[in-house]
């Protein structure tokens, strides 16, 4: 097959057409499937954390715990809320500026930073919650065991999240590498 044949075949490819109404809807963030689901998840988690922050002082005896423990918990929850917001903003971020290779490099760097922040914020949240709820309780063998199981499950979740991000970043880095090699 000649190169010109390839070009004419390419030009002949027809894809399904969207009408102007469908295209117009697709231009808006509120109709974007990924942004919509991130937003929904972020709102749910944000509300849950906000409700927790609002009630913990009385319901979970925050007033009976040391000030430092309270401050650590508030910081951990606030950091996690901020992280959700950042994830939502990152998905909306316009990625194209000068050329594809540089844009991919800059996006991979942003994803790498966000990947670290997700892991750190989840770790801080767990530490904050653990410190708060274990403060002042007497540890028995069963409680130590429960703590170990919770920590293990949490680390497992972190590893899975990390793996998803790592795969996405690696895919982009491989493309950059392909562009750079001759």
């Amino acid at each position: 097959m000649e190169n010109d044949d390839l070009k004419s075949l390419w030009k002949g490819i027809k894809t399904p057409e969207k009408d102007a109404n469908q295209l117009s809807k697709m231009m808006k963030a509120k109709n974007h499937p990924v942004i919509k689901s991130i937003k929904r998840q972020a709102i749910i988690e944000f509300l849950a954390l906000a409700i927790f922050l609002f009630c913990y002082y009385t319901i979970f005896d925050g007033n009976k715990k040391p000030l430092l423990i309270n401050l650590i918990l508030i910081f951990a929850v606030a950091f996690s809320m901020l992280n959700h917001f950042k994830g939502y903003r990152l998905q909306q971020h316009f990625r194209a500026s000068e050329n594809i290779k540089d844009d991919l490099k800059s996006f991979a760097a942003k994803l790498k930073t966000y990947q670290l922040e997700v892991i750190i914020s989840k770790a801080i949240l767990l530490i904050g919650l653990m410190l708060f709820f274990t403060n002042g309780i007497e540890f028995t063998e069963k409680k130590w065991f429960a703590m170990a199981v919770i920590t293990f499950l949490f680390i497992l979740q972190l590893a899975l999240i990390n793996n998803i991000w790592r795969k996405r970043i690696t895919r982009i880095k491989l493309t950059i590498q392909d562009f750079e090699t001759w």
Binding site: W10, I13, I100
Partner: protein, 159 residues
């Protein structure tokens, strides 16, 4: 520039988005998600379109960039028929098989090579391709030759 102007330009160039989605997605659900992501990114970036290049060239840059950086569920390519997006995606009956074959062949390339060959098949000059991708013109020429050879090999093996 107004939303209506953008919509008009997008409407007449939507085939570009469709083609990019076809070579980067294996399933209809992924295809639709990527189509929307590209449309959203293009609209968001439209104020940066200075009109120095053709709108179609600009849209290709946005579409390819988005396709390569978006999250997609990677599913294994099982065989020629199974990996195609959806039979209804293509409407031209006469060239249907040949078109499928070309898309299948392009999908065998790595993601970067798919972008380069797409721009080549759209008849952009080596200088334009180099500038869009962000590599030198010499590197572009070398890569295009290599990719064309790969593509011919895949196409002839598939017959």
């Amino acid at each position: 520039m107004s939303e209506a102007t953008f919509l008009q330009l997008l409407n007449s160039n939507q085939g570009i988005i469709g083609k990019v989605c076809s070579i980067y997605c294996n399933y209809k659900e992924d295809y639709e998600d990527l189509f929307q992501e590209i449309t959203y990114q293009a609209y968001k970036g439209y104020p940066t379109f200075r009109g120095e290049a053709k709108f179609s060239t600009w849209l290709y840059r946005i579409a390819l960039n988005t396709a390569m950086s978006s999250f997609r569920k990677k599913k294994p390519l099982l065989n020629f028929v199974a990996e195609l997006p959806d039979e209804t995606i293509f409407s031209d009956e006469e060239q249907h098989n040949q078109n499928q074959h070309l898309i299948y062949a392009i999908k065998q390339l790595n993601e970067g090579d798919r972008a380069i060959i797409t721009l080549y098949l759209e008849e952009l000059s080596y200088a334009e391709i180099a500038s869009i991708i962000g590599i030198s013109e010499n590197n572009t020429a070398v890569k295009i030759n290599r990719i064309k050879n790969k593509l011919h090999k895949i196409l002839s093996n598939g017959k």
